[in-house]
Symmetry: C2
Subunit: 221 residues, 2 copies
């Protein structure tokens, strides 16, 4: 699904981020869901640094000044989870239509963004984002142990299945998106590392990744 400047759906993204953040900014999750659902979209690129100040107008759209923010006619959403769920609700490719399948997929969507992301972000904040601090290694070891417990339980659940339930859903999309990246994959059980790779190998993911990377300027904007 190529980006279409006339599409009804608009997603915000950054015009530039440092090398290490490319392929990881959260608009990728929304792009991926749109590719799975086959829905065209356009992007609106923001200038400035990831954590930088935004216009008062943009804070009305996205209260933390982050991406992605989503517009579709009069509907304005933020939070990648809410946007991806909104997209999934109109595509059986992401969300089963029966009540139980739907409920299970949404359960995993929240599991990714709450139970797992809390552990992932605490670890990254301690061990990676603050690696210049004297307490980083010790705090990172404690938080890494907490993350490892959650990864191990997730691996127990997954076992030798392909996806978290009996087919790929929006829950797998968000779980793979939450766990991918070398510093987490390196800690994951082998079946979870394989699961993340399966997610990244999907055609829709590859298209979304290419589209995010293509939107970055070579130099700060």
């Amino acid at each position: 699904m190529p980006i279409d400047p006339d599409a009804a759906i608009e997603v915000t993204a950054f015009g530039w981020v440092p090398e290490g953040a490319r392929g990881h900014v959260r608009d990728l999750r929304v792009r991926w869901a749109l590719e799975e659902a086959g829905l065209p979209y356009r992007t609106r690129l923001l200038g400035g640094a990831i954590g930088g100040e935004r216009s008062a107008e943009y804070y009305r759209e996205q209260p933390w000044g982050q991406v992605p923010a989503y517009r579709e006619g009069d509907l304005q959403l933020f939070e990648c989870g809410a946007i991806v769920l909104h997209i999934a609700e109109r595509s059986a490719a992401l969300l089963p239509t029966d009540e139980i399948g739907r409920g299970r997929a949404i359960t995993w969507l929240f599991a990714a963004l709450n139970t797992m992301d809390v552990a992932v972000m605490a670890y990254l904040m301690a061990a990676v984002f603050n690696s210049d601090k004297p307490w980083s290694a010790d705090a990172g070891a404690t938080f890494g142990g907490f993350l490892d417990q959650r990864l191990a339980r997730l691996g127990d659940w997954l076992g030798d299945r392909e996806w978290l339930e009996d087919r790929f859903t929006v829950g797998d999309l968000m779980m793979v998106a939450t766990l991918r990246g070398d510093s987490i994959v390196a800690r994951a059980p082998a079946n979870i590392a394989d699961y993340i790779r399966r997610g990244e190998e999907r055609a829709a993911f590859q298209l979304a990744l290419a589209a995010q990377l293509a939107d970055f300027s070579p130099e700060p904007v």
Copy 2:
């Protein structure tokens, strides 16, 4: 809505937790949503400590061995966010029925459980849960600063409004539940502290809180 042992909806909770965790275990969020929606429920109480080992059977129900897990006929859910959204989908008291109101409420539900809870939990893990570690104060100061930024932005959004949008929704329920507790409220802007108190003053919250406290045994079970 008194607990009804014959109710179709079953929620798991702990039979005992230490004093400091009483009123904060996450089944409270589900009880609160059920009270707002006027739906009867029964509880199934688990023995053992909060982070303790569970039966293999319970891990199939709740992969991390936590509470709440939810059952309603053949539907089994976990993650307080997914359960509360499932409840909200059948009650206009929690979720507006127009597309825009519904989308905004769900956006705030995810904002509570991802953007805010990531900051809350990283801070609590550093400053409170690991307060015996030599790195706790320094890591807590850094993570507390990150949390303060997010609280300030939330306060800017709220301004002098009563709720995050034009009426109370499931998004307010989860935001209040995520931020309540002395160590977070003490850091919050005054309008956010007032907002949390307004949430806690709701009749449905008070009923849910009383029901959780009544389920705890005085001694470990």
